[in-house]
Each structure stands twice: as structure tokens, then as C-alpha cells.
Symmetry: C2
Subunit: 560 residues, 2 copies
């Protein structure tokens, strides 16, 4: 380690939000650090801020500019908010991608969907296997979470050891996958000089009680199913293989045939079986055969725990789906928690089922769902186990990061908030601000990639809030109006409260303006446009109280 | 009571949703029943379904058609979801409006804002005062809720007694206003033939524990404030006068000057003082003087508990507001619950405060907030107290109504779900379906009133999801294209992934089409428009994977 070398941490996503994880570590002389990227996740759009957008990803412009410095990309686990952007962004980074087998199988699907080379994905085993990536030596350490083969990363550098927890919980009996192993973590904390920096999940820092094990759900779910007479349908995240297993086993124990519905379910189970982590899943009925099973003997496990419009649960809420239909006396179980912001969609599905006479069962204070993240006392246990010099909370909104920093400081650990774009130097005893990167967001919109600040989505929001008025003006060879101005309304009331046609009211005012416009205005498109927009907004405000978006098209017959 | 007379119940809003309360009762021969309307409330728009809309109200078309049959309008209390539509809809109904004093003061403001006659509002006292309205004799019976002077209605008809609970809770010490009085309710249940039908609030039917009193909050809030060193800011609904009082008293007890911020606060306090229901509110500092008070001695009580963008809390979250500014070490208390669907806005405000270093305190499992609605055991207590023949749940989403019906049936009460537009005959021993009314929604949009099915808001949503392409085509005297087709994009990526300009790609295809179009097409605007839309969508889908909204303007120089 040269005196000038430094170890840096730079979140590009996930720090100041839950979702869209993307973290960068660097080691070397300032400005020439060799880099590794941890996770390339997505977050999901909503009508409020990103209407029409398909996926939201970190802006990797800084990484692209420094692509020659990137040694490797590590994917900690196969949740969309950790791997979902890989296919869309890989071609701009072009570094080898390391992951464990199950995660790698999902990563390969992402690459395939985006037409990227599959051999960029390299499967590595868990610790003690070590991946060398420039000055970094990286081990995947099994952690329990809500998807198989989740891994924390132990990142060794000449400046010391960083433990990047990724998403985790302390589960001694996770049903599928590796249990939390305190001895393993004790060893990691006590090798060499111990842990320089703990970069730690913050999602559940506000949950005051210790997290509960996935295994605690088996009995209540089995109990719930026993009493059911109609069809039983349950939903959870497709990637929660352990939960799928618990649900399916409860279904089988209650004498039901079990059928998985939804593309994501199939994908996940296939990946789990192919990579050998799922060996004893209950026998399934194929969707095309499910309709033949008497409904009292059938259990469906479906996608759509968050009320997503295209998922199987929403399809069933709207009526028939693959020949299957919910009826009075059936039960629908949400073995899931509603992620904040998804309430409207989930409630819509619940009420649709209610109208069908279906009994809805939800989380019920934890009987039928447990979180995949470490709660506050679990985080404290990990702080105590790792005894790091430095604590940097990640994966949380600002309020989570701040609370987690407070927790660290209360234990005497040098702790700091670093939100997306904040580069920290973590070479010394305490984290030090090393710079700020423009950390924006990139939208996948159809097949196009948009910058969040491009104005495209802003225009959509404005049209949605204010409506859109189109004005077409035709000017003849002498720059005189040819006919009246033509007005089209889209997303605006057509008649005013007095019963007049709004478009005609606007056309009248515009015609007056054009007839009276002097040569300096009428020969200048910019001046016409400016005046037309002002008039349209003014008339619309007077008539219906709205200030619309306006597009003006001026056609001139004059040959210029 | 003639043999042909019947008693009907018809919800137009609030049954199948929480909010927008509007219920109709009728008595008389079928189709000629004399009518009373209970409440004219609003519900609030969101980007998902109603972008740009200001307020959502029940469609009163059926009432308007039968306006000559309406005897009176009764307003149970002054919450927006019970009185908010009065000013906008009254001119279509033109019946006298009865309310208690505080409610009437707010109702008058609604009428004034909408330019409607104030003398339509008639103030009436609580039971034993009786309002005669055709065949109906109506008493306002004080109930405890989260606003002063809430009232249930006891509606006597020749067919028997209906108790319309409106929103209520069982609070023996509500801080401001009348406590729940079991003896009063006992008397109501036992007069004459007892209660024919109980039409009952369902909001909290899923809350398993008995509701808690407003009075339980005083101590925890006072305790919380004691330890604070910086400025303290608290938010709750402006109409919750009792809560404002509890908060203000806690502030004064902690030696702080108290200041109310936000227009709604001022309105509510003014109405409460003017109508004599608030006599001992702590002394307040005026907003213009608040900035002069040392921050450690200041408490603000502000609007915006639901994260509303224009409310005082959101303004403070964005920076200075009326010279006041939040700083590190200050505390912000949500003495409120987030209404499902408002999470995103509330979380946005929380994180903005977190970035300022402000400590955020929320509900904390009920320490700092109690609900204004009766929980499940409270509903059962009311069922037992009233012993109605018929139970009709109201004010709830479908799942709430259904659960409440189950509860009623489990007690042997004839119970039925009636969602908006469902007319029930409640003359007999059990409710009977008497018809269905088209029960839509009316949007206040700027100053215009839109029907929910007009397509205006649908167009906005489509523009927001898909973007908008405007095509202008100019045809000369011989129906030949004059220049190229002109394309404007709004809310769409301007460049394709290959780097080409999307507008130019579309223009090229359109020009090819126009040049090759035969006389049958080129002389027919409809055919041109149809083809142009198809081409625009096809090219846009190929180039950027989106299927946009398209507006086509065709200008012809030919004199027709």
C-alpha cells in the first residue's frame, strides 16, 4: 500500500432509497483507483413521478467514463433491485460479472433478454473461494434473506477489510438456503486486522423487535389451510423460494394439488432446480391441468403480491385467468407485506376479490409473513459481532440511513451517511468526504433509455396534470393567416361552464390576435408562438381554470 | 302509512370506498318517494387514476332529475368527505341544508366559496330538536369523532326508525365536544318500536381492539415535548380541534409559544371560536411574529399530515416558509395516521426533514394518535345497544362493508351490502334490492365539472403513459402534400437507440405514405388520419418500443 493509495466507497443507487442498489468501491491513487461495482439493480416507476416508464436504474455515466478502471461487477443476490439493470447497463461497463450459481442463472437470463453475452457471467463458489479483481480480493459469504444464495461480500484490500452485507437477516432456519452462521461471521471479524468498514443494510432499522425465522410460518399457514373448503390462492414474491416451499407443503398437507401461476414463478423455480438448491419441492400441477382439479382440492400460488396490474393475482381479480376463476367461499392469502407506495394497487385487488365473495387473509401481524431484512436488534448484533472501525449504512431512505448512523454512533463506531453520488474515503479512522458525483437516474422507457432530467417524463406529467392544447396556424405567401387558427384539445374539458365550446373560444381569441398582429410579429415564428401560448393559457384559465401545455405548429406557404 | 309506501336507502358515495359520503333516504309510493340527502362529501384525486383533477364528488344526476322530490339535505359533520361537495353541487339540488352550528359555519364557507346562497344553510340544535322534512323527522344526535359537533341522525319515518351513525367512535372523554353517551343511545333504541335499520360506519371494522380515547394522548405528547431543545413542529388534521388543543396545551406546558400554520387551521379555529365550542384554547402567537420567538421556545402546529404538496409541512420540508425554517435538532411530530395511498407523499416529507437533521416522530403504535372511528368491538357494542332489525354498513371499501355484514349476520341481524347506486327497500324484515342507479363520479377540474366517463382524464392518463405525437399535414389545391408531414413529440424520447431522430424517422415514413396515397385516400381526412395514426404507432414501436397517443391535423388549401 503506497502512502498515496486510498480506499473509496461510492453509492450510485440504494443510498437514500430502498431499491436500485448500485455501489462502487475503489482502491489506488486518487482519481486512478481501480474499481469494483457491487450490484446493478432497478427500482420501479409510479404514476406520481415516472408515468409510462418501465424501469428505473442508476445513471452509470461516471462508471462509463471510467470503464477502463472497472475490474469486476459482483452481484450479491438475484432480487430485481440488485440484478435487474444488469442486462440494460452491462454494455456500457463491459466488466466480468461474478455471482453464485443461482444468482448467476438469473443474471444470465437478464443478459439474454437484453442480447448481451452470457459468458460475461462467471459463477463462483462461497467463501473460502476468493475472486481476485485488481487490488480487491472478494469472497461471497452466505447470508439468510428472502431469496436463495444471498451473499454478503468480504472485500479485502491493501487498506483493510470491508464487509458489504447486502440484504440479509439473521435466520437460523431459513427453510431453503444457508442459515445465519455466527461462527463464520466471528471468524471474518477476527481474521487479520479485523473489519475496517461495515457497509450495512438499513431497510428495517425502524423495526424494534428481533426478526423472526422463515420456519415460524409453516405451522400457522398449515393451520390456516386446514379449515378451507373452497379454492385456496396464495401470493408472495416469486423469488422467495423458501416461502413457495412452505406454502406448497402446507397445500399438500391439506390434501391439495398445488399449481404455480405467473411467469416469474416458473423462472425462479427453474433456476432453483437447475442450480441444485431446490431438491425436494412438492409435486406440482401444471397450469393447463389446474382447472380440472376440484376447487376444494386445489391451491394456486400466484405472482402479484404488490397488486401489479399484469400479475396473476390482478388477473384473477379481474375475472378468468387461464380458465381459473375465484368464487365465493375461496380464500386469498397475502403471504407478503405491501411495500409503501403499492397500497392502492393491493387494495384494488382486495376489493375486487371481496366483491366476488372471496375471503382475504393478509399478514395478520406476522403470522403469515416475515421480513427478509435484519431488524434493529439484529443490526446491533451484527455491529457487535463485526466490531468495525467504520459503519456506513446503505439500502435505505435518508431517514433509515440517518437512524442507522445514530445507532452506530451510540456504540462509538465512526459512522457516516453517504447518499447516492457521495464518495467517501474510508482509508483512515473515520470516513471522509472525497467528492460528489452527479448521481442521476436512467429510465427504461419502452426500449429507449432516458435520463431522468431529459424533460421527457416531466412533459408527460405536465400533460397529465394540465392537459394539452394543440394550435395549428397557416400563413400564406404574404404572411397573412389563411383561415382561422385551429385548436385541438386533449385532456381538457370541451365545454365551459357557460356551455360554450372551449376550442372555439380559444380560436376566436387567436384569430383576433393574428388579424391584428403587426409585420414584426407575424414574420417571426418565435414571437407568434410566445403570444399564442400566452393567449391559450389565459383563455383556458378564464374559461375552465386550467393552465394547459401548449404546442404551436406554424405552417408558412412562403418560400424562404 | 299506505300499503304501497316504502322506505328506501340509496348510497351515491361512500359505500365501496372511504370518502365521498352521500346517502339518500326516500319514503312514499314507489318512484315517488320523498327524499332526503345525507352528506355531500368529496374524495381526493391521485396521479394513478385522476391526474390533474382537483376534487372528486358523487354524480348527482339522479338526484338532479328528481330534485322536486328532495325535502332537505342534512350534513352530519364538517369533514371534507361529508361537506366538501356542498358548494359545487347545491345549485343542482336546491334544497334547504340542515346542520349543527359548527358544521353549518363550515358549510356556509363552502357555499360562499362557490357563490351559492348562504341562507340555504339552516342551523339546528341537537336532539330533542326535530327537523321535519316531508315524511321524515330527523334528530341530530351528538357522537364523538375527530371533529367537533359530529352527529348521528335519528330518522323517523312512518315505516319506522333509521339510525344513520355517520362517522363516530365511542369516546367518553373527547377533549372537545360531546362524549359518547350510552344512556342517550339506550333511549333511542328503546323508544317506540325500536330501531328498524342501523346504517353504520365501517371504516375500522378490521381494527380488533377497542378504540382509545382522545384524552389518552395528552400525557404522552406532553412527555415527548418536555425533553425537546430545538423547535417543535406537529401536524394533524386541521379539523381535529381536540387534537389541536391537546398539542397546544402540551406546548404551553413545556414553556413554548404556540403558532398555528396553514389556512385550514385558521378556518377551523375561527369556526370553532365563533360557534362557541372552543372557549379555552391556549393563547397563540401569530405566524408573522413566530420567527421572532427563540426556536427552543416555539411550537408550530401545521397542516399537511398527509404529505400534501401545498400544505405547511411540505413547504417547511422544502425550505423556508413564512420566515420559518427547520434545522438540525428540531423535532417534527406526525400526530396522525397516513391514509392508505398517501404514503409516498408522507415519506417524501419525512426524508426531506431527515436530510435537514430533524428528528421525526410518528404515531408510535398509538402513543401520539388515536382514530376517530369505532373499532370492531365498538361496532359490536353499538349493534348490541341498538338491536336493529336491519344492519346496512356504510363508509367503507367493499372489503369493509363485507366484513361488517358478516359481523351483523353473526349476531342474527338481517345485514346487506349496498354499494354506491344500489337502492334497497328497507320497509320489510330484511333489506330487499329495489333497483340500481348509475352512480358515477363528477370531477372538479379547475373550475369545470367533468364526468368520470367523459374521456378527458382517460386521455391525460394515456398521454402520461404513452406520450403524445402531433402530426400536421398540409395539402394543396390539388390534394397533393405541400412539403413534408410535420411531427412534434411531447413526452417521448427524441432519439432512437441507433441515434436517429425519432421525429424525422416518422416524418420520412409519413411522407412516403402521402406521396404514394391514391385519390380515394388523399381526399378523405378520416382515411388519412387512420393511416397516419397507424404509421406513427408502428414506427414509434419499432424505434423506441412505445405506442403513443396521436393527434393528426390536416389543413387543405382547396376551397371545398
Amino acid at each position: 500500500m503506497s502512502v498515496k493509495d486510498r480506499l473509496i466507497y461510492l453509492p450510485l443507487g440504494g443510498a437514500g432509497e430502498i431499491g436500485m442498489n448500485c455501489y462502487v468501491y475503489g482502491y489506488g491513487p486518487e482519481g486512478e483507483e481501480r474499481l469494483i461495482v457491487v450490484d446493478l439493480g432497478v427500482t420501479f416507476p409510479d404514476m406520481d413521478g415516472t408515468p409510462g416508464v418501465d424501469l428505473i436504474m442508476a445513471d452509470v455515466a461516471w462508471l462509463e467514463e471510467n470503464a477502463d478502471r472497472i475490474e469486476a461487477i459482483f452481484i450479491t443476490h438475484a432480487h430485481e433491485d440488485h440484478v435487474g439493470a444488469l442486462g440494460h447497463l452491462w454494455s456500457r461497463l463491459r466488466a466480468p460479472v461474478y455471482a453464485r450459481a443461482f444468482t448467476g442463472a438469473i443474471a444470465r437470463m437478464k443478459m439474454e433478454d437484453a442480447g448481451q453475452p452470457l459468458d460475461a457471467i462467471r459463477i463462483v463458489g462461497p467463501r473460502p473461494a476468493v475472486t481476485e479483481a485488481g487490488p480487491f480480493q472478494v469472497q461471497f459469504v452466505p447470508v439468510s434473506h428472502s431469496i436463495p444464495e444471498s451473499a454478503a461480500l468480504v472485500i479485502d484490500t491493501p487498506a483493510g477489510r470491508v464487509v458489504h452485507t447486502a440484504d440479509f437477516k439473521l435466520d437460523g432456519s431459513p427453510v431453503v438456503g444457508e442459515p445465519f452462521d455466527p461462527e463464520l461471521w466471528h471468524a471474518i471479524a477476527n481474521e487479520g486486522a479485523g473489519v475496517r468498514a461495515l457497509v450495512c443494510d438499513s431497510t428495517n432499522v425502524f423495526s424494534p423487535l428481533p426478526g423472526r425465522s422463515e420456519a415460524t410460518l409453516a405451522e400457522p399457514i398449515a393451520e390456516l389451510l386446514k379449515g378451507q373448503k373452497g379454492m385456496v390462492v396464495a401470493t408472495t414474491f416469486a423469488s422467495n423460494i423458501a416461502r413457495l416451499k412452505t406454502l406448497a407443503e402446507a397445500g399438500r398437507a391439506a390434501g391439495r394439488s398445488v399449481c404455480l401461476l405467473g411467469r416469474a414463478m416458473k423462472k425462479m423455480i427453474t433456476a432453483a432446480v437447475e442450480t441444485g438448491i431446490l431438491t425436494d419441492f412438492p409435486t406440482l400441477v401444471q397450469p393447463e391441468d389446474a382447472a380440472d382439479v376440484p376447487r376444494g382440492s386445489l391451491m394456486l400460488i400466484v405472482t402479484g403480491s404488490q397488486g401489479e396490474r399484469r400479475a396473476a393475482s390482478a388477473q384473477l381479480a379481474r375475472g378468468k385467468y387461464l380458465g381459473l376463476e375465484m368464487k365465493a367461499g375461496d380464500m386469498f392469502l397475502f403471504s407478503s407485506k405491501t411495500i409503501p407506495g403499492n397500497e392502492r394497487g393491493v387494495i384494488r385487488v382486495m376489493n375486487a376479490f371481496s366483491e366476488m365473495g372471496v375471503d382475504i387473509v393478509d399478514d395478520h401481524g406476522g403470522l403469515y409473513h416475515v421480513s427478509g431484512h435484519a431488524n434493529r436488534p439484529d443490526l446491533e448484533a451484527v455491529h457487535d459481532l463485526m466490531r468495525p472501525k467504520i459503519l456506513i449504512p446503505m439500502h435505505g431512505e435518508h431517514r433509515h440511513l440517518r437512524e442507522h448512523v445514530k445507532l452506530g454512533l451510540s456504540k462509538g463506531i465512526a459512522s457516516a451517511i453517504a447518499t447516492n453520488g457521495t464518495m467517501l474515503d474510508i482509508t483512515g479512522d473515520a470516513p471522509k468526504l472525497a467528492g460528489r458525483i452527479e448521481a442521476g437516474r436512467t429510465y427504461l422507457d419502452g426500449t429507449a433509455l432516458l435520463g431522468a432530467m431529459d424533460g421527457v417524463v416531466r412533459d408527460r406529467i405536465r400533460m397529465a396534470l394540465n392537459g394539452h392544447v394543440l394550435v395549428t396556424i397557416l400563413l400564406d405567401e404574404d404572411d397573412r393567416p389563411l383561415g382561422e387558427a385551429w385548436v385541438d384539445l386533449k385532456g381538457l374539458a370541451e365545454t365551459t361552464r357557460s356551455g360554450a365550446a372551449l376550442a372555439e373560444e380559444i380560436e376566436g381569441e387567436l384569430t383576433d390576435f393574428l388579424d391584428g398582429a403587426g409585420p414584426k410579429v407575424i414574420t417571426n415564428d418565435d414571437k407568434i408562438e410566445e403570444a399564442v401560448k400566452r393567449i391559450v393559457r389565459q383563455v383556458t384559465m378564464e374559461e375552465i381554470g386550467k393552465k394547459p401545455e401548449v404546442t404551436v405548429v406554424i405552417s408558412r406557404l412562403a418560400v424562404e
